[in-house]
Amino acid sequence: MAEILIRNGFVIDPTRNINGDVADIAIKDGQIVEGVGSKAKVIDASGKVVMAGGVDVHSHVAGPKVNVGRLMRPEDKLFKSPHNQKNYRMESGFSIPSTFKTGYDYARMGYAFVMEAAMPPLHSPHVHEEIHDTPIIDQAALPVFGNSWFVFEYLKNEEIDNCAAYIAWLLKVTKGFGIKVVNPGGSSAWAWGLNCLTLSDPVPYFDITPAEIITGLMKTNEYLGLPHSMHIHHNDLGNPGNYETTLESLRLAEGVATKNNFGRDTVMHSTHIQFHSYGGDSWGTFESKAREVMDYVNKQKNISIDLGCVTLDETTTMTADGPFEHHITNLNHLKWANTDVELETAAGVVPYVYDKDIKVNGIQWAIGLEMGLYATDPMRTFITTDHPNAGPFTRYPRIIKWLMSKQAREETLASFKHTDKVIDATDIHSMDRELSLFEIAQMTRAGPAKALGLSNMFGGLGVGMDANVGIFDLNFNDMPADPEAIEKAFSRACWFIKSGEIIVKEGDIVSHGNKRTIWVKPNVAENPQVIRDIQDKFLKDYSVGSDTYQVRDYLAPNPYVIEFDVEA
């Protein structure tokens, strides 16, 4: 592979505590190296910012619910699908872009890795087919476990070792990355038309509580020593007053110690926390509890979070939180898709318009940003939109602008119909903090890579790391007075190099790259009981056989497998 030398850029690399030093980055054979020969291709980055490729910890970009969104929303593509373009595959869609547009748009923003945040195990072949169809970016997928009948039965009896053996088996057959938990117990209760809105609501039939599921899965995660922590979408998402349930759920991390060989310090990743930090007892009294939640997150150092910022766009909500999607369609009367995934999970899809002139939407916008601004540890606080739930991932540059510029926040706030009411219900107007490029690099690169246990490959520019490098048109020593220039620079990287190959050249995609599917294979001692339980369930309960259940190798033709032995 060709050698590349990126010269004279302002390098921002929190993994080596480098903040804007002018330096060269050398690339050879897909990795960052000490130096290259005189024949290396030279890219002049002078006057520009150089960062590692972005790492997205949570995004819904592949699989059945994403595709249901595409199918049920042809209007998402209207006037947003350019006719054929030279060297590109056709791109279509806005909030639920086609697989090709997804790969291109992440590359244009300089992102190298994206985690598909919820894979229904039964439908994992579909998830991997779409991942395979998404060019350029490396991807992994988190299977959902928070409503699994196996998990309920093992954890009910406190059989962490059996739960671990089951999860190790499932990660292997679905080519999964880690443990995702969505509305623990609640999505299973939805099959009875019920929900679990508190941590002590028993799951119908199984008689286990969300608190027991969360604690059990954190312990299982550390028993296995997986790269990533347990990754949770808390109970009672999206409702006024839910911050107390959120805090109660976060506190469960206090009793769990981290154990892994991947440099991860956390035991819980709390996702799209904006949706879980609401005060008030109705939409009329709805208010921000960002401060209360972030005060706790800041001091509880074994938790990481991502923001789930509302971007004030027309978008498509989609989640394994089946009862919540039913709740949304009752609020906005828009079309609704709903499904139950046997033994495993549920899901729903509903379009949603976040309107800057609706008070509650304005408050939601403020809460997401407040959480980023209250964070004292950007290495545990990551920028997301829970794409596409709070907005499309293509708005990350806009969120960066808002986080970096009080002026940009004030301009948006002033454009609302209910500016005063939003100010009354939030802290945003009084917050002066403006994040630095270094902090943005922590929140979008070094931090998520560390929480995912991938800090040896992603998130930094140290020698030996994967050569994922973005070059952005920002002068570190002379940052633009106009915040729009920040958004523009992060929307279109001047150059993006992925695994040592030039993907974006002067703003345009020039290669489909060499994407990888990353999955985790923990080897545990043979567990006859769990093998018998799996055979039993496929015999009695599943509508498919265990042979057809698994993801075949051809669906992940360029795999990167993290394989390790679990010490019992």
Binding site: R73, P74, E75, L78, L334
Partner: protein
């Protein structure tokens, strides 16, 4: 008002997407510049000048620009797409999407139009001397935001799915209509001066439908509430008044549920 005349010179092998045939795109341009405007035949990008002989002069603004198409447009789609002002006269038939997403101005079609005439229209006026195919004044597929304003008058008959998801504006069909009128509508008025076969007002939340002929099959979700004298589009008559669709949710105004109204002229 400055006038531009387009004379079709060849029949497209596929269908021509003439989305730039609008007063907005023509305004302030020379004949050469107009001939150079993009169009698509299938996936191939073409120029308007490849299909038309262009004469006359455009106005400085859309409002001051009148487009006269002197010939058949049976294989040309999207005439008047998103137009905001000015006028288009088509001396012949036109294909799909005439006046789609139109915001203002006037389109006059001397012949027939195919489907999706006035789709998601926001304002302005469309008059069709002949018949229309399906989806007159409907929403784009999947969208819940249909026609919001303006008037569509079809002097002949129309097919199915008229005014789907309509929110405002008026659609008048002077002869007969087939099925599905104002499905999911939440506003606006549809007048059918002839007969309609059925499925009138299915899942309709709000808005009005007038049928001056007969409804062959009434939907069970509509309930007769009385008889009223009304004048509609120049016709004064006695109508049987129904409300519905009772199977759909309905908003409340001053504590009272608001229903859609269906008025059928009494024989």
């Amino acid at each position: 008002m400055a006038q531009i005349t387009l004379k079709p010179t060849k029949v497209p092998e596929l269908y021509l997407e003439g989305y730039n045939i609008t007063p907005d795109a023509f305004a302030g341009k020379s004949l050469m510049e107009i001939a150079d405007l993009d169009a698509h035949e299938g996936k191939i990008k073409v120029k308007l000048g490849d299909y038309f002989e262009i004469a006359g002069q455009s106005g400085d603004t859309a409002e001051e620009t009148a487009i006269n198409i002197d010939g058949d447009c049976s294989r040309i789609k999207y005439i008047g797409n998103k137009m905001s002002a000015g006028s288009i006269t088509i001396n012949g038939n036109a294909d799909m999407y005439v006046g789609g997403w139109m915001k203002g101005g006037k389109i006059h079609v001397m012949g027939n139009v195919d489907s999706f005439c006035g789709i998601a229209m926001e304002g302005g006026e469309i008059v069709v001397e002949g018949n229309a195919q399906n989806h007159v004044g409907c929403a784009y597929r999947g969208d819940w935001r249909g026609m919001r304003g303006g008037t569509i008058r079809i002097k002949g008959s129309a097919g199915n799915d008229i005014g789907t998801f309509m929110l405002g504006g008026t659609i008048i069909i002077e002869k007969d209509a087939f099925i599905h009128v104002s499905t999911h509508a939440e506003g606006g008025t549809v007048v059918i001066k002839g007969n309609v076969q059925g499925r009138v007002g299915g899942q309709m939340v709000k808005g009005d439908i007038y049928v001056l002929g007969s409804v062959q099959y009434m939907l069970p979700g509509f309930k007769k509430v009385g008889s009223v004298e009304q004048k509609i589009d120049g016709t004064e008559a006695t109508f049987t008044h129904y409300i519905g669709d009772l199977g759909e949710r309905h908003p409340k105004s001053k504590g009272k549920e608001v229903y859609a109204n269906l008025y059928v002229q009494e024989a």
